[in-house]
Amino acid sequence: MSELWRLGLGQAYQGLLAKDFTAEELVLDCLDRIKATEPAINACLTVLDEQAIQQAKELDRLGPDPQRPLWGVPLTVKDVFSLKGAPTTAGSKILENYLCSYEATVVQRLRQAGAVICAKTNCDEFAMGSSTEFSAYGPTSNPWNTQRVPGGSSGGAAASVAACQTPGGFGTDTGGSIRQPAALCGCVGLKPTYGRVSRYGIIAYGSSLDQAGPFARSVKDCARLLASVAGPDGLDSTASTIPVDDYLNPAELDVKQLTLGLPKELWSASFSPEVETVLQEAKTLLTKAGVNLKEVSLPSLKYSVASYYILASAEASTNLARYDGVRYGYRAPDRSGLAELYLSSRSHGFGPEVQRRILLGTFVLSSGYYDAYFRKAAQVRRLIQQQYDAALESCQFLLAPVSSIPAWPFGSFTNDPLTIYQLDMMTLPLNLAGAPGLSLPCGLGADGLPVGIQIMGRAFDESALLKAGSLIEQVFPPIGTPEVKAKE
């Protein structure tokens, strides 16, 4: 069989179980695809080819196992997931030579489910950014147009899945880092409820906002990936003990009985003409399909960017205190003592955006500013959560844009942090509320770039969210597969 890499995750899995092809054949095909597309998109920081082939051979030796929901399926994980014995850099120079001594719970569960991890994908340094341009290892390109960013911070994961390097991957979403690159690269990305998936072994950015989730090329495939990793974990106290639903067999939903709430604070933003056109068309298609759209209001959303950047930066500033050059990671040559060692290691090990957020986070927690910024931001967060829950009383899900502009040319905003923070306005309210959201492509713009849309649901109700997602997925026109062209 040829071009196995084109198969979606569910198709690939069925083919493996039916012995249409072996795990090794599929993995080799994906590794070839990675080799062919990497020069153009730079989505992977480490390709684990030897391990992956060996693992696939071992699976083939044992034979297909229908009890393992990802048996033989090649995947990628963002380079913030700890993978024992493999480099784990989080896109930072400070972890350049770091080798992990333990495995993230998500990685462990993926292996138990039979998945073969083929690569670790590129991201903005410590997941801080919206374009992957802040990776210390060079930016990833958008497979639809390699002159443009793939979004971020999980830009490598989104670009990789969109370019069909593997049928699925895992990323993390702190303020939109799964949903926004999924939208910009034209694939599906799910940010689960905070606490639905263990954070153990995932390099932390904003601990009360971070959540791991899947990328795939269909909603159903995302459901299969979530089903393999969701649920409580003895190593993450914040992971919820609420039982996990059966995401592969959700309760029936009728598209004609769907009511989606449109937060006016998000829809009233100014969009680029290409995005605006696709979004309007998407609404028309939904209405035609019988979906009931209604306007809702979450007035505190106007504070969400400020609240988010204060809280996330505060948590980041102390999460990143461990990178001090003492036990692991980059250490600057010490010429004049310990104080100098700290300063030099951190100033040279961290890139500019990470330093910016560490400074902002340190500032909002420091004495004299804590109440006005940090505590106030947490109070606003409560208001946003309350308004989010209240909005869902009058509808089943919220529907919102993911990005007001399509994938942008490299370098557009790198020196304008505030503008890029404000671009996250569509995605970060969900992280503040702790709720789940699904981003899926709703069309291609006149510029040939994908546009995404997101639906958001109640906490721990991923089952209904995924079901609704697969219904509206069928309403939108398929966008196809990008033809990956190398940068000129």
């Binding site: 700890s82 153990y200 601990s207 009360s208 993450d236 106290s237 102390t318 001090d324």
Partner: protein, 478 residues
């Protein structure tokens, strides 16, 4: 110059007696090779997350219950941020607001009778690793075996007014926490250590002076010395009109002096905020009730109880202060309900022997039951006091039955009256002349007859009762 009075507050760190660390399952074991009891959590690896040890929580609540604190149903862990090479995460996980326990008190003997020292709070936190300064290489070496070990910090109100009071308070607190098995309390291992806040104020005034803080004292003696030195230093500064600067000090044990560690300007800004990786700490009413029910009585309660049994103060204090003595006494009492005699005998025989062997009475081979038997034998007159004292070392070492050993050694007294009567009759029959002289009124001759009886019994008879038996026999025959 007005007379100045020291005002002292203490911050005590006690290591909790758990098998594993506060946030990971690494063993608490300081004897091990450096950096062997470490994992991704306590060495601060990227992505690792903490999970709290339930036992540590229980022990912290237990300390709170024993000290009369309000144990909060909900308390919160916070990150305390600062850089130091022995602090793997770049923050310590501690509690700010609210801590697990608030308020509470402990009384000590003050100059004018009992004095109550109020507690501000008790909170849970993890310990840092250990830095070893290698002079030769010019490097600092870091061992993280201790990193993440559970501690409670007990903070007093500034209500102590002398080094004597401070040391007395610490000793009493240490004794209590060790007895409760909250901590092992080995001070040389740093399992019980304290920071001292100290300032001077004009006597009678409410206004506190500028304070200094002496860090990390790990012996009662150093606490006393450091406070005395600091009082002198501050007094001299006031007298010379210089005034005291707010600073953090270190006590140089070799020189017996305090040294500046950092000044107010260099003070940390710890940027405390709620630790997002840990849920709220909950203590339910049920646990508090169980802890309350399981508490041993306080020394004051014990003293009262012993007084009610008619036991003298000095004896009672000995029983309370010596580890295991009170339990031993109470068990012995079940077998021989003569509290006064039993306690006296303990202070005369058992406690010195235990002290000599550096063991607790409860660890002795001579069980409370056997000890009660010994007391009973003396009380009945079956064993003479002197014989008992002579026998004791062997009993203590062997744990043998006192009556059997006394019998074997032939030192058991004949207290059985029929046996004594028979012996008396025999002696009178053997010494008819002397018997006659007694009957004729020479009372002194009785001593001779008693001597004969004692010799014939090989010392096993009680001389007093032997005399009585002889008298009775002589009178009956006349």
């Amino acid at each position: 110059m007005v007379e100045m009075e020291p005002v002292i507050g203490l911050e005590i760190h006690a290591q909790l007696k758990t098998k594993t660390k506060l946030f990971c399952s690494c063993l608490v074991d300081f004897g091990a090779q450096p950096n062997t009891h470490i994992c991704e959590i306590c060495s601060g690896q990227p992505g690792a997350l903490p999970r709290m040890n339930a036992k540590a929580l229980e022990l912290a609540a237990k300390a709170g219950v024993a000290l009369g604190c309000k144990v909060n149903n909900r308390s919160v862990f916070s990150r305390k941020n600062y850089f130091y090479p022995d602090l793997p995460n770049g923050f310590q996980t501690s509690q700010l607001d609210p801590p697990i326990c608030q308020g509470g008190e402990l009384s000590i003997a003050g100059p004018d009778g009992p004095k109550t020292i109020h507690l501000n709070r008790i909170h849970l936190e993890d310990d840092a690793g250990k830095c070893i300064h290698d002079e030769k290489r010019g490097r600092t070496l870091i061992d993280l075996n201790r990193a993440g070990v559970p501690l409670i910090e007990i903070v007093t109100e500034p209500e102590l007014n002398s080094s004597t009071e401070a040391v007395e308070f610490l000793k009493k607190l240490h004794g209590l926490l060790v007895r409760l098995e909250v901590t092992m309390g080995r001070m040389e291992e740093g399992e019980f250590r304290c920071d001292v806040n100290i300032s001077l104020k004009p006597k009678g005034s409410d206004k506190l002076g500028v304070r200094s803080e002496i860090k990390n004292l790990n012996s009662f003696r150093y606490v006393g010395q450091a406070i005395d030195f600091e009082i002198k230093r501050q007094t001299a500064l006031y007298e010379s009109g210089q005034g005291v600067l707010q600073q953090t000090l270190h006590f140089d044990t070799a020189r017996g002096e305090t040294k500046t560690l950092r000044s107010k300007e260099e003070a940390h800004d710890y940027r405390y905020f709620p630790q997002p990786d840990l849920p709220v700490v909950t203590v339910d009413e049920q646990l508090i009730r169980e802890l309350q029910a399981g508490l041993p009585e306080t020394p004051e309660q014990s003293l009262e109880k012993l007084a009610a049994l008619g036991i003298r103060d000095e004896v009672a204090k000995l029983l309370i202060d010596r580890r295991g003595a009170l339990e031993y006494f109470e068990q012995a009492l079940l077998n021989f309900n003569e509290p006064k005699r039993l306690s006296t005998l303990m202070t005369e025989l058992l406690l010195p022997a235990c002290q000599k062997d550096a063991i607790a009475p409860t660890e002795s081979l001579l069980t409370p039951k056997l000890f009660a038997q010994l007391a009973k034998l003396i009380e009945e007159g079956t064993l003479g006091r002197r014989a008992a004292y002579e026998l004791f070392p062997e009993l203590f070492q062997s744990g043998l039955d006192p009556k059997e050993l006394a019998q074997k050694k032939g030192v058991l007294q004949i207290s059985d009256s029929s046996a004594l009567e028979a012996l008396a009759a025999q002696i009178i029959a053997q010494h008819p002349k002397e018997a006659d002289k007694y009957r004729q009124g020479q009372d002194k001759i009785l001593g001779f007859l008693v001597g004969q009886l004692m010799r014939s019994s090989r010392g096993a008879a009680d001389p007093k009762r032997a005399g009585e038996a002889l008298e009775a026999a002589l009178k009956a025959q006349s």
